[in-house]
Amino acid sequence: MTVTAGHNIPNRSPLMAFLSRWLLTTNHKEIGTLYMWLSFVLFFIAGAMAMVIRMELFQPGIQFAEPLLYNQMVTMHGLIMVFGVVMPGFVGLANWQLPLMIGAPDMALPRLNNFSFWILPFAFTLLISTLFMEGGAPNFGWTFYAPLSTTYGPPSTDVFIFGVHLMGISSVLGAINIIVTIFNLRVEGMTLMKMPLFVWTWLITAFLLVMVMPVLAGAVTMILTDRHFDTSFFAAAGGGDPVLFQHVFWFFGHPEVYILILPGFGIASQIIPTFARKKLFGYHSMVYATASIAILSFVVWGHHMFTTGMPLIAELFVMYATMLIAVPTGVKVFNWVATMWRGSITFETPMLFALGFVILFTIGGFSGLMLALVPADFQYHDTFFVVAHFHYVLYPGAIFGIMSAVYYWLPKWTGNMYDERLGKIHFWTAIIAINMTFFPMHFLGLAGMPRRIVDYSLQFADFNMVASFGAGMLGLTQVLFLYIVIKTIRGGKKATGRVWEGAEGLEWTLASPAPLHTFETPPKFPTPEEDYPRD
């Protein structure tokens, strides 16, 4: 890239200039880039942990990882993927794209933006450093249920708690920034119901973040005081209740899973119309569907706790409310399919990833419906069926969402086209590997293989071996992705401003690569009769 810093001070060593540029930047594009790289690095770290898990499960018995290490790997893989990969990945996309899509010169609170990014490297350094501490890293699963994390937690649990606090602060500040930006800096004429869907889904996600991250902070604080200050929030001895922890945690945890997927819905809603060369079908219903999913997500946390002895009436309420979420989600899938109906579709890499997203996310949604059924859930609970379910919604959901967005907007960010042939290879190997890894887990779970246990009975051996081969292949495809991204940054066919023939939106009216400072004078937002200006 030939971008120069906005605040270059002469007579500085190149290293100092580099450091001060990236440490002190308040530019939304640079902060977006930082978020994306952080997410990418952590993706490989958490992915390496997944490799350890799959290597251990390749055969029955204990090969590489003794149980304590295995439990640490399961915990850290989950924590880093959720808080370090998917969330910063989406925030990075938001930083890059929101101002471009609503015609704003920058985020509304640029210095806060810098602060919320630079908390994260410290938070994750702390979290990862627990691996090298005496007693090992947290080993109680990413859900850190009490009393596993209170009475039985390793000493590093306190470091983990501090790390989660930092991540929570970063997310809440980032979300506040995003909401204030969307409410105040839209170009004249762009009413809320004319915003691109990526902006809409992020607005709703940001509200979810502001509302549930503090609840997570509350949960870890209670764990901390139970551990060290003799409170008894979750200890029965002092009148507390360990089940209360699950209620507090899942009150955060369920909206959290929508935080991990709603921006992905937005991305699919940008990309599918572009490559189908049609307007998005049912824009209004998309917005209402996203909002209803977000609202419903606050009343269904009980479906993670069916086996804790909830009263039947609560189980029934939660079950029906959960199944109700299938309705707005179905509306969205229907709209994406209807957008493609009779469109002139081409299958460039972003479109392939978006289609993979729609199809595989729907499979994950269906297994979610199965898990929502109270009588059936008693069989599925804590088995590999659950692992299959949430990997189907998170890998081809959230991660494919981020990858399709990267392919889609990378030419705008770098000014170069990515290598289409390599992109297609990346997609096809990834989609084969994903299904090879996660589909057999459905069968394993139905046959009764429990999750989070280092060893398994002999009858599960074959499917586990297939899954481990798939996981290895999946890991390698992501190395190819890294190569493609670096190759695109370093050069390639020059991208036009519009990049994609069917692309619509303010970001495509800019040159590629997008200059460091854009929309310093507000652009003109076209009325429905007009078209976006073309270059």
Binding site: I176, P214, M222, D230, G238, L244
Partner: protein
């Protein structure tokens, strides 16, 4: 643009308030949950029934049910703890007396708190305890043993389908800090 700036400030403050409010809500979930459990009897929690709650004259019904007693100690709790009667046949509305045996096997004094649980959970609202060692913390000196009494009756409105119910006590060691603060409050009173 000043209007815009003011709006931004307003939105930032409102959203920060929302975040702080949700942090408060997380802590408010603790009492809310306790109240919810108490009202519905979920989780099999039985709550202290003061003696003046009990009607002066109880109607003793013909119906008999079996009540089983269980006792277990939490991790690290150095007490021996078991019910004196493992099972009783009682008539509804009849006041019964049973007891639990406890002995402190440690070489120093230990304070314990018993936490009751009733199964099936919806029977918990019909089991009334008039006197129970679980109402207060119990202090046993090193090597001391004690029979701790439990006086209860079962409500005659107990649902028909319940023939057997079980009352289980888990005994936990009370953290020293809480013992200290409790003693302090008692002394002040």
């Amino acid at each position: 643009m000043t209007k815009n700036r003011n709006n931004q400030r307003k939105h930032t403050i409102l959203l920060s308030g929302l975040a702080v409010g949700m942090l408060g809500f997380a802590f408010a979930l603790v009492p809310l949950y306790a109240i919810f459990c108490e009202v519905t009897g979920i989780n099999g929690k039985t709550y202290a029934q003061e003696i003046d709650d009990a009607p002066a004259v109880l109607q003793v019904s013909e119906r008999e049910v079996t009540i089983q007693f269980l006792g277990q100690v939490g991790r690290g709790m150095p007490w021996e703890f078991r019910p004196m009667d493992t099972q009783l046949k009682v008539r509804l509305g009849e006041i019964n007396l049973t007891s639990y045996y406890a002995r402190n096997r440690a070489t120093q004094a230990v304070t314990g708190q018993a936490v009751p649980s009733v199964s099936p959970f919806y029977a918990s609202n019909y089991l009334h305890k008039i006197e129970c060692f679980c109402f207060t913390q119990q202090l046993l000196e090193a090597g001391e043993e004690q029979q701790m009494s439990l006086r209860f009756y079962i409500d005659e409105d107990l649902p028909e389908e319940i023939k057997t119910l079980s009352l289980s006590y888990a005994l936990f060691e009370v953290p020293e800090l809480e013992v200290a603060s409790l003693t302090l409050t008692n002394n002040l009173q």
